[in-house]
């Protein structure tokens, strides 16, 4: 599907796009508003994410990046807006989504082992009553192997380093064998080896025609890791391929005075030279 032309900051006042979401978009959001109390954290956002691509959701702290993801998934309630996944309402497409929450969102002293966390990704398929069988365990181990954690399968999760915790969360998502992977800051506070391991897994997913959407905070790695960007600061600022939308004007519009202009130019330069 063709990406819509870049939406610029000037467009921000628009309230709602009535256009029906494209059938093949892994995730299409229209008119999404989320508020904490009376203050919108995300206001009337439209977003259509590209299939078979890696998209970064970018914006300053408090811009609503994680909120956008959580509200789309129904983790937090939305005031308005519709979300479709592969052309169907999200409630009827849950099995096609895998979500990797922020590491800090759980209690790592919870009594469970690494492999048990990965098996949580299979609960939906196993159901309430059926026993967890050898085949399930093999699947979980294979997913752990893909993130380089097979040797840690029977460790208590409290013994893991931050990067290892993040890998276990990713392995749990892999166990779901989904078509759309949504990750909330997977690279936050992890070591360099883990960052490489995670990006390798994500690129492999893309190569298998899965869609990947990451909330991302490190502007320096956007070009190396992602194909598409979605810029947000409460409202949508811009969306498109990295070449189209990851420009100094859009970054300035997203971050305002918070990012030195020189810094933005430095980040955007390589891409503009290419194009």
């Amino acid at each position: 599907m063709k990406q819509a032309a870049i939406t610029l900051a000037a467009d921000r006042g628009r309230v709602h796009s009535p256009a029906a979401p494209p059938e093949d978009s892994p995730l299409a959001i229209s008119g999404l508003t989320v508020s904490y109390g009376d203050k919108p954290a995300v206001f009337s956002v439209d977003a259509t994410f590209a299939p078979e691509a890696m998209t970064a959701i970018i914006g300053p702290n408090g811009a609503g990046k994680s909120t956008l993801l959580k509200a789309s998934l129904g983790v937090i309630p939305r005031v308005s807006g519709e979300v479709t996944v592969f052309g169907r309402p999200i409630e009827r497409a849950r099995e096609r989504i895998a979500y990797v929450p922020q590491r800090a969102s759980v209690d790592w002293d919870f009594p469970t082992t690494v492999i048990d966390v990965v098996l949580m990704g299979l609960y939906r398929r196993i159901g309430l009553v059926r026993r967890i069988g050898r085949a399930n365990r093999d699947t979980a181990l294979e997913c752990l192997d893909r993130v380089g954690m097979a040797d840690f399968a029977h460790r208590q999760i409290g013994q893991l380093s931050g990067g290892q915790q993040q890998r276990v969360f990713l392995a749990r998502a892999l166990a779901q064998d989904a078509d759309l992977y949504l990750l909330d800051e997977p690279f936050a506070g992890v070591d360099a080896a883990t960052e490489r391991a995670i990006i390798d897994v994500l690129k492999a997913l893309k190569a298998q025609s899965r869609a990947v959407v990451c909330v991302h905070h490190d502007l320096a790695t956007v070009r190396a890791y992602f194909d598409h960007v979605f810029l947000i600061n409460v409202r949508r600022i811009a969306q498109g391929t990295v070449e189209e939308a990851f420009t100094s004007e859009n970054l300035q519009a997203t971050y305002g005075g918070r990012l030195a202009t020189g810094h933005i130019d430095q980040l955007s330069l390589p891409g503009q030279q290419v194009s």
Binding site: K70, L73, G74, V75, E91, R94, E95, I97, A98, Y99, P101, S105, V106, D107, F110, P111, T112, T113, D116, V117, M120, Y123, R124, I126, L128, V129, Q156, R172, Q176, L182, A193
Partner: protein, 407 residues
Amino acid sequence: MNPLAEALLLQAGYNAALVGIGAGLLGFAAGAAGTFLFLRKRALVSDAVAHATLPGVGLAFIVMVMAGGDGRNLLGLLAGSAVSAWVGLWLVQWMTRTTRLSEDAAIGAVLSVFFGLGIVILTVIQTMSSGRQAGLESFLLGSTAGMLFNDALIIAIGGSLAVIATWLLRRPMTLVSFDPDYAAASGTNVDRIDLAMMGLVMAVTVIGLKLVGLILIIALLIIPPVTARFWTERSDHVIWWAGIFGGVSGYVGAAISASAPALPTGAIIVLVAAGLFGLSLLFAPARGVAAAVLRHRRFQWRVHRRQGLLAMARAEPIHDPFTLRVLGSEGLVRRDGVPTDAGRAQAAKIARDERRWDVARQIHLDAGLTGRYDGLTPIEQVFTPDEIAEFDARIGGPAPVATQGGH
């Protein structure tokens, strides 16, 4: 036979046997059902639920008397307590969600107001002329006097249902307790699971009211899971261990209270549970206090041993008395602080390992391995023998260590 052994073997009479079996079953059900409450960190909500049962007991009594009944029909009283517990629970949820009150404030408000209301209603009942009101206050602290077969049957059936429901919902409840965001994102209805969790707690509270009383029931819901947590690192094992700890507490507690006159059953059960908790806190293998102290002492010992040997290798004097004691007790230094032959050999080995680590960090490419240098990990645990031989080749010659003492 002494009275306690008699009670434990169910030989202390029909009533004592009923109480023992009932308390054991109740303990098992409460421990299992309370596990996820503890893991979800909502233990205190059950306290609000328990206290909120009291007005229901009183109102149910009044309604049954006005309808011309006895007023003390147990099922009727339990139904009343369930309704008012539900209202209390709903109020806690509602206040937390729609106002800025935090959950602990909402719990405090509901708990005290419902309890106060319940006491007022019970006082009013005392002044009523009709009905046989005696015995209602036993719902506060529990009572085993006059326990009937039907009472034990209610506990057995209700408790079994609670355990089965806990088992059936163990996966969604694990998911919601560990990672509610992920649970919601993968399509689990978190509110409904939370409600089910609370419903289970309420069910156990209601069936346990008569025996243990509403003030102490929270102990049976919370202490067994907390105790079980010391012994296992897996949530599904916590359920069964909590059930066993709860069951043992109930059974043994009931037996103790039956073995002597005028010992309050509910309170004794709670004290037995607390005893098991205390033992676990102190002596559990991995998480217990004793194990932690032991681990720390061993670690301290290794650090001092290593530092002492390094100082010895550099021919530096050792002043720290603990280091001298460590080295002395392993026969590495003499009483006057002079290294023994064994000490010199160990020091040379350790000095050589330090050189090996230096070389390893220069030539070995895997930062994951060289990063494991922490001063204590033996180099043989990190590198293979051929790798170590390679380091030695680079160091060259026999160990270049100043083993000759002298200052």
